[in-house]
């Protein structure tokens, strides 16, 4: 991303006339501190929705295998804005606002489905799959009376279609006409991570898990940018060598963006000099079903991890489980977290079983991620009570340089370095 987004250069769809004004001062220590009001302040939340989600960013919609045929649609949200992705007659996927041009009702009120066209349930305004208004009841009135004004032009009142892109089967969209191309937006490192797990092979949808976590959306982003906690909190990971402080790893905060890449290697169960400090390491713990914790080497000799695509999506692999993560902010103190699990069309039965089985590690009941949603709840309660205090982000130093070791908060610093500038603090 070349220029940081601010309230003054966002597109016509944004409230440029009345940008959110925030009377807040970031702590003098800059991006090594996170003031707790960023997790509670309603004005901050609204500005994030405008500047990021509705601004010059590309946002995750879903996988093309979720809408396999013409007319198949899927509902989703970009920030707090409801949207739809739909397969159109030419085989491409269009992304539309899920909002009737007439009175604002959602034109889709099911998560997925298949239609010939869209009809708003309220006054039956009818749109084609590209969002063009095709007709509306009583346009010429009833018995010669009423109707829409003669100069009402249906072409001016379609559903807004967003710029969108299909990268290896992942669908992304932006509300902005000024945003750079998706490829420029991501940059080569993030793009390489997307391309690794979406190499253009046909995808098979395995399903979704969804959870509502009572914490600010950024807390989840930070959690995924925090390998420090993963090496301590998640005993399960540590014990079975799926993610350890002493594994070969890399943290790369992409400069001038909120993106990051985090890589580790599945190295199996082992004891090293770092083990005593991992207090939750359990040498005596064994799984009866070894396959749950024994991934088949799939990419570059057990390389796992992936990329955060700012603002709210992550792609990557954990064990043999392929998934996207999507964060939907619901309010300053709540976010929804959606995992979409998939495989490749050429997966054999053995690999499909591993992808499904190792998904037990992830999601709302995941051996390693149920700890996260539990802890984020605690962080929100603590932060809400002390909005004037701040978190300390100094593990691994005070800089934002990429690291070749795991125990570092550099990705969180990189994120807030970008955030402070983009939000104008």
């Amino acid at each position: 991303m070349d220029t940081p987004t601010t309230c003054s250069n966002v597109g016509r769809q944004n409230p440029v006339e009345s940008p959110v004004h925030i009377e807040r001062r970031w702590p003098a220590d800059g991006y090594t501190r996170i003031p707790y009001w960023v997790y509670t302040d309603a004005a901050v939340f609204q500005k994030e929705m405008d500047v990021f989600f509705a601004g010059n960013t590309w946002n995750y919609l879903g996988l093309d295998c979720e809408v396999p045929e013409v007319g198949c649609y899927k509902r989703n949200w970009i920030g707090t804005r409801p949207v739809i992705m739909v397969r159109t007659e030419n085989g491409e996927i269009a992304v539309l606002e899920n909002r009737c041009a007439h009175r604002g009702a959602q034109i889709c009120w099911q998560n997925t489905g298949k239609v010939n066209d869209f009809t708003c349930p309220y006054h039956q305004w009818n749109y084609d799959l590209n969002g063009n208004l095709q007709g509306l009841p009583f346009k010429r009135g009833v018995m010669g009376k009423g109707g829409m004004p003669r100069d009402f032009d249906p072409k001016q009142h379609g559903i807004r279609k967003l710029r969108s892109v299909n990268r290896g089967g992942t669908i992304w969209a932006t509300f902005s006409d000024e945003a750079p191309t998706f490829e420029e937006y991501c940059g080569p490192e993030v793009l390489a991570e997307i391309d690794q797990v979406f190499p253009g092979k046909k995808l098979t949808l395995l399903g979704y898990t969804r959870q509502l976590i009572p914490s600010n959306w950024k807390m989840y982003i930070e959690n995924l940018k925090d390998p420090y906690h993963a090496t301590l909190l998640h005993t399960f990971y540590i014990t079975f060598g799926l993610w350890r402080a002493d594994s070969k790893s890399e943290n790369y905060p992409i400069p001038n963006s909120g993106h990051s890449v985090m890589i580790s290697h599945n190295e199996g169960k082992k004891v090293t000099e770092a083990t005593p400090e991992m207090q939750r390491f359990r040498t005596d713990l064994e799984m009866l079903d070894r396959e749950t914790v024994t991934p088949k080497k799939e990419f570059n000799g057990g390389r796992v991890g992936g990329a955060w695509v700012f603002p709210a999506a992550a792609v990557g692999i954990q064990a043999n489980t392929l998934k996207t993560r999507h964060v939907i902010p619901r309010s300053p103190t709540e976010h929804e977290l959606v995992f979409t699990y998939y495989g490749y069309e050429d997966d054999d039965e053995d690999m499909t079983r591993r992808r499904l089985k190792q998904a037990n590690l992830l999601g709302p009941a995941g051996f390693v991620s149920m700890d996260d949603s539990e802890m984020l709840t605690q962080c929100q309660i603590g932060a809400t009570g002390y909005p004037h205090e701040a978190g300390i982000i100094e593990m691994g130093g005070r800089d934002t340089e990429r690291t070749d070791y795991m125990v570092s908060e550099v990705l969180i610093r990189g994120f807030y370095r970008y955030y402070i500038e983009a939000m104008g603090f």
């Binding site: 998560n111 997925t112 949808l205 395995l206 399903g207 979704y208 898990t209 969804r210 959870q211 509502l212 976590i213 009572p214 909190l233 998640h234 005993t235 399960f236 014990t239 939750r280 359990r282 713990l285 799984m287 009866l288 079903d289 749950t292 929804e336 699990y341 079983r353 499904l356 089985k357 998904a359 037990n360 999601g363 709302p364 009941a365 051996f367 149920m370 700890d371 949603s373 539990e374 802890m375 709840t377 605690q378």
Partner: protein, 161 residues
């Protein structure tokens, strides 16, 4: 569904099995939870969204009894979670099909969750879709799909359904 009307004793036995299962979880006797299943069992908690779309992913997906035991080990030994108490309310037990040593049944469940400093909340509501197998040790679950109506899980799903 079979046309023959099942004996009253069998229905009573089935209801007892559901009550015993609920009590086992409510009393946090997790180590005994796998005993309700046969070795080659299938146990899965999945959303109605995935179930209706024929998507296989589970919130919890155990493909054999060892995986049930592993989940108990993980909950006891490795997981950090806020202390809570649960109450299972099971109703609408219905015998759908009866063969020689197999029963197909279903029941509704509602699970209330109470954390130590908050009001009880409806954590999950849904249906058990079950197949039981008669063994020398009585009826055991060979397959249980817990299909929850919840669109999304509240925070986390810690204890099995």
């Amino acid at each position: 569904m079979s046309n023959e009307i099942s004996p009253r004793e069998l229905r009573a036995e089935l209801r007892d099995l559901y009550e015993d299962y609920a009590l086992c979880l409510d009393e946090d006797r997790l180590e005994q939870w796998p005993d309700f299943f046969v070795e080659d069992c299938h146990y899965r908690v999945l959303s109605r969204e995935n179930h209706d779309a024929g998507l296989p992913i589970g919130l919890i997906y155990c493909m054999n009894k060892n995986m049930l035991k592993d989940r108990v080990t993980a909950l006891r030994e490795t997981t950090m979670s806020e202390p809570r108490s649960l109450r299972h309310f099971i109703s609408g037990v219905s015998l759908r099909e009866r063969k020689e040593d197999t029963l197909v049944s279903q029941a509704n469940f509602a699970i209330m969750e109470s954390l130590s400093d908050r009001d009880p909340m409806l954590n999950m509501v849904g249906r058990y879709l079950d197949t039981w197998r008669h063994t020398s040790d009585g009826w055991k679950l060979s397959s249980r799909d817990c299909v929850c109506d919840n669109y999304r899980v509240r925070t986390s799903l810690i204890v099995p359904v």
